[in-house]
Subunit: 188 residues, 2 copies
Amino acid sequence: MAENKHENILRAAQKLFAERGYDGTTVPMIAEEAKVGAGTIYRYFENKQKLVNELFRGSVAQFAATLRDGFPEHKDFRDKFRHVFYRLVRYSREQPEAFRFINATVNAYFLDEQSKSDFEGFMDFIERHLDEGKEAGLLRDLPAQAFIAIVYGTIFHLSRMFEDGTLEPADELLAGIEKSCWDAVSAV
Amino acid sequence: MAENKHENILRAAQKLFAERGYDGTTVPMIAEEAKVGAGTIYRYFENKQKLVNELFRGSVAQFAATLRDGFPEHKDFRDKFRHVFYRLVRYSREQPEAFRFINATVNAYFLDEQSKSDFEGFMDFIERHLDEGKEAGLLRDLPAQAFIAIVYGTIFHLSRMFEDGTLEPADELLAGIEKSCWDAVSAV
DNA sequence: AAATCCGGAATGAACGTTCATTCCATTATT
DNA sequence: AATAATGGAATGAACGTTCATTCCGGATTT
């Protein structure tokens, strides 16, 4: 029961931050959602800003783990690309609140330095993977950041559409978009 | 000087909303940035929520105008696609605050119905244009929304990178990314 | 032409409310 | 019984908003 509260507060905060943003969410709101007293939150977190930063880093770590887990280190680059694409999609679908929260928070004024560098470290993982493909001559002559914009940007927007019902996720659709992204980045 | 104040307040609000979000921006902050008294804001706007909605609709209208202006109605689809791509990029570069504000605000809880439908109307313009290309058999067999995710999502992420200096905008780079996007959506 | 008056624009102090945070009596655990 | 954890009332700061007052350019009166 004890350690559960820490987790309950984080989950409640994640849900509310994803819905209403950091400043639009009050500490009493988080307390009610987590079914604890407002004061209890301060037994687990120094203040609201420490809470949001801890949540952010935890979400980024989980996100990074999702990508790294089962990474086909010894298969060819096409498989690695597919892996990253589908894991990005998987995370955005299985943890839509976390995904939305992360993306809404990346550039926020209340993120501390550690949170920012944690996220950069995660992005570096994607960038290194893309650089490898570039060196192998499989990708176009564009900076790795451009590929990130294409792949991550596409998936980010896609997840918005899945969430608000503009688009229905389906295996066939995802396969088609994965192919589109690959065609967008692969050398002609 | 009179009508200027209305505009000064909107610009100040846009800057602050883009940086800190709606709830993270206080009315006195807007007043200071606009160099007016806090009470003056209420001579021009009924309340903070009306202000953010008026700002949103104005930004969307300007955004839509940027896309529609000079639209090559009588050229072929490839040119129209290029036009939309470059106008999206242009707006995100010339009005980075407005672009960021719009994207951060699209799904916000404080947007009223008119604001939401104004934005939908704008998206419909892009969707109709894509459907035309689909009917002509020039695009892949994917829903128009998927193309929007690819093109708009890419540009959205790109503009983030241009803003924070992760990536330098250059004609050659943009031409490469436009080509990538076209290859992602065009029939094989 | 100078002095006075006028009305709306502008202001910022003040209001009631709500916020993040603290405090403490009560409850649960050891 | 002692200690730790808890919830929610209490607190002061800060919020959005209001309003009594000031300001100021143009009309009116002298």
